[in-house]
């Protein structure tokens, strides 16, 4: 390692995984620097969960190699497991054990010292100290996810793999959750978190976008937006939101989507795009060019990669 090369917490190359004849993860390369939060995005079924599982040794890649925390993810899977916290997409704590019992179980499995103290501290941090005797299965969605996070971090891992940790969680609980993730990253943890929420993607240091098993965009949000070469026009005025149908058929328009009463029309060919909206450059509509949002970019990426399917 040269002194200037970054300190990768995750550094995997060319991961492949097939189920039957379905190539679910295709040549995926992911690098995340230590202490950073990387958002893992992609449509349903694009292979996010499968990739995360390969990183923590739950699935064996068909090919590809790499390291997590300096350990080979295939040959030293046990060492990786010991230092990684993994939060599954589906709630997978024991619903018939209490909150405290779930934490105690995890503490024992990882052979932690000062168990009582750690569990108490985790409960304190969660704000669940008074409800420690409640069955985990009876918690609401948001609390379940926070408990799962507390469990996944109990053994003080260096790497956190979170699989859609905030799906079905209300905005306030989501914010609390992300505050916790940032607090953990500030302590030096590396986080790879999959999500479908754009606001969450924007809270990450960097993002990786996967579609149909291929990694098609990487970098900070600004880099991904810039790399997309996307141009977006914002149209306002009464009934502007209803233009989507007509506009999306026009040549040069890659996506046209209503944003409340306004509309976002995007494409990568400026001339064609301007030609497409020309018929509507009249009263009562007002048009302005805006920087594309991550969502515009992702919808465009999704559309493109679909066309790429052999």
């Amino acid at each position: 390692m040269t002194p200037s090369s970054p300190n990768w917490a995750i550094d995997v190359h060319g991961l492949n995984k097939s189920f039957g004849d379905k190539h679910v993860v295709n040549d995926v390369t992911i690098q995340v620097e230590a202490g950073r939060i990387c958002g893992f995005l992609g449509p349903n079924g694009s292979g996010k969960t499968t990739t995360l599982r390969m990183l923590c040794g739950l699935l064996t890649p068909d090919s590809g190699s790499g390291q997590a925390l300096g350990f080979d993810i295939i040959r030293e899977a046990e060492a990786v497991k010991l230092r990684t916290g993994y939060m599954t997409q589906k709630f997978s704590l024991y619903e018939d054990l209490t909150i405290a019992e779930n934490l105690q179980f995890t503490a024992r499995v990882y052979g932690l010292d000062r168990r009582r103290e750690r569990v108490d501290k985790a409960l304190e941090r969660l704000g669940l100290a008074s409800r420690r005797g409640q069955l985990a299965g009876t918690l609401s969605g948001g609390w379940k996810q926070r408990l799962a996070l507390a469990t996944a971090t109990l053994h003080e891992p260096k790497l956190l793999l979170l699989d859609e940790p905030t799906a079905g969680v209300d905005p306030k609980a989501r914010r609390t959750f992300w505050d916790e993730i940032h607090a953990l990253a500030a302590e030096g943890l590396t986080v790879l978190v999959s999500t479908h929420y754009m606001d969450e993607a924007e809270r990450c240091h960097e993002i990786a976008y996967i579609s149909y098993g291929r990694l098609i965009a990487r970098g900070t949000a600004a880099q991904v937006i810039a790399a997309s070469g996307l141009i977006t026009f914002h149209g306002e005025g009464p009934g502007a939101d209803k233009l989507g149908h007509a506009l999306s058929k026009a040549p040069g328009v890659e996506t046209a989507a209503a944003f409340g009463a306004a509309i976002h029309v995007s494409g990568s060919d400026r001339a064609a795009l301007e030609a497409a909206i020309l018929p509507y450059r009249r009263e009562p509509y007002r048009w302005s060019e805006v920087p594309p949002t991550l969502e515009d970019v992702f919808i465009q990426l999704m559309g493109r990669s679909q066309d790429n399917i052999p």
Binding site: C56, L58, K81, Y86, T88, S92
Partner: protein, 377 residues
Amino acid sequence: MIGLSLNRVLAVLIKEFKQLTRDRVTYAMMLAIPVVQLTLFGYAINSDPRHLPTAVLAQEDSRYARSLVSALKNSDYFDFVAQARSPAELDEMIRRGEVQFAVTIPGDFSRRVARGDQAQLLVEADATDPSATSGAVAALAALPDQALAHDLTGALAMRGQAVKPFEVIVHRRYNPEAITAYNIVPGLLGIILSLTLVMMTALSVTRETERGTMETLLATPLEPLEVMAGKLAPYVMVGLVQTAIILAMAATLFHVPMSGGWLGLSAGIGLFITGSLALGFLISTVARSQLQAMQMSFFYILPSILLSGFMFPFRGMPAWAQWIGEAIPVTHFLRVVRGSLLKGQGIGDQWRELAALGAFVCVVTALAMARYRRTLD
């Protein structure tokens, strides 16, 4: 309140049927259980066993003795497999369970027959399982009239018709009053332990898979053997408590003799509980759902009841069924339990059964470890 609708019933019915056919294993089991089990048990079970292994101690070598042995053979109930040289050796053979019957032809048999002086033939039966010997014992009644018919001539023959030339003394050993409970109650220990232990552990891993908790479990540094040991240990306690209850009830309510053999019995109980739990764990690594796990356990329990010698005499089964029976741990466990409680066998008499149980534990544990998946692949 809305009325009942046939269409809605049909909707549920069709859904259920589709779900049923989608679970291949369950579907196959439902067809296989009646076919396999019926063929198995229909041909295997025989409540009037013949060709029972018999040892003879002939204290005289005479024409009469040879005639007696061949008459016993001709009855179809007795197969002479061993010749004892002393009463002690004969006794050991029946205690170890190598033979079902021990026949003693006394040294003065011919002389007494010739003199018409109350000649006796001694037949000892291992009556731990009364049903295994009852047919054979009944057949002995006809022996004095027929056995020596060709050998007795002249005056002896004449007398033979009036007075029987000898009498058969039958000793039902280990269970002289032929009390069925003496046989069934110790046997139940094996069956009850199998039922609860195999079923309970068969669900243990499948439940984790079904509830999704397996994914978290696999992401931890737990080793397969650690998971197995941790999951099985509580049930070892369950098994020991059950054993204590059953033995206490056997002694107090059913007055089953407790003849000793505690060392062998303890070893047998330990091995059997471990083996049953390991088998349950193996099932749970194969089954994909709790339903499948239940069915597989059931598939194991039936032969344990029917082919182990619990319900029907082991020696009454055809050779192929005995082979299957030998592969079932309950068979060996029953021999240890009955041997200890009823016969007071020592560990020297039981080492073969204990070794079989030990081998079962090792094989099943190895298979379970090989089957246990460390990943979700």
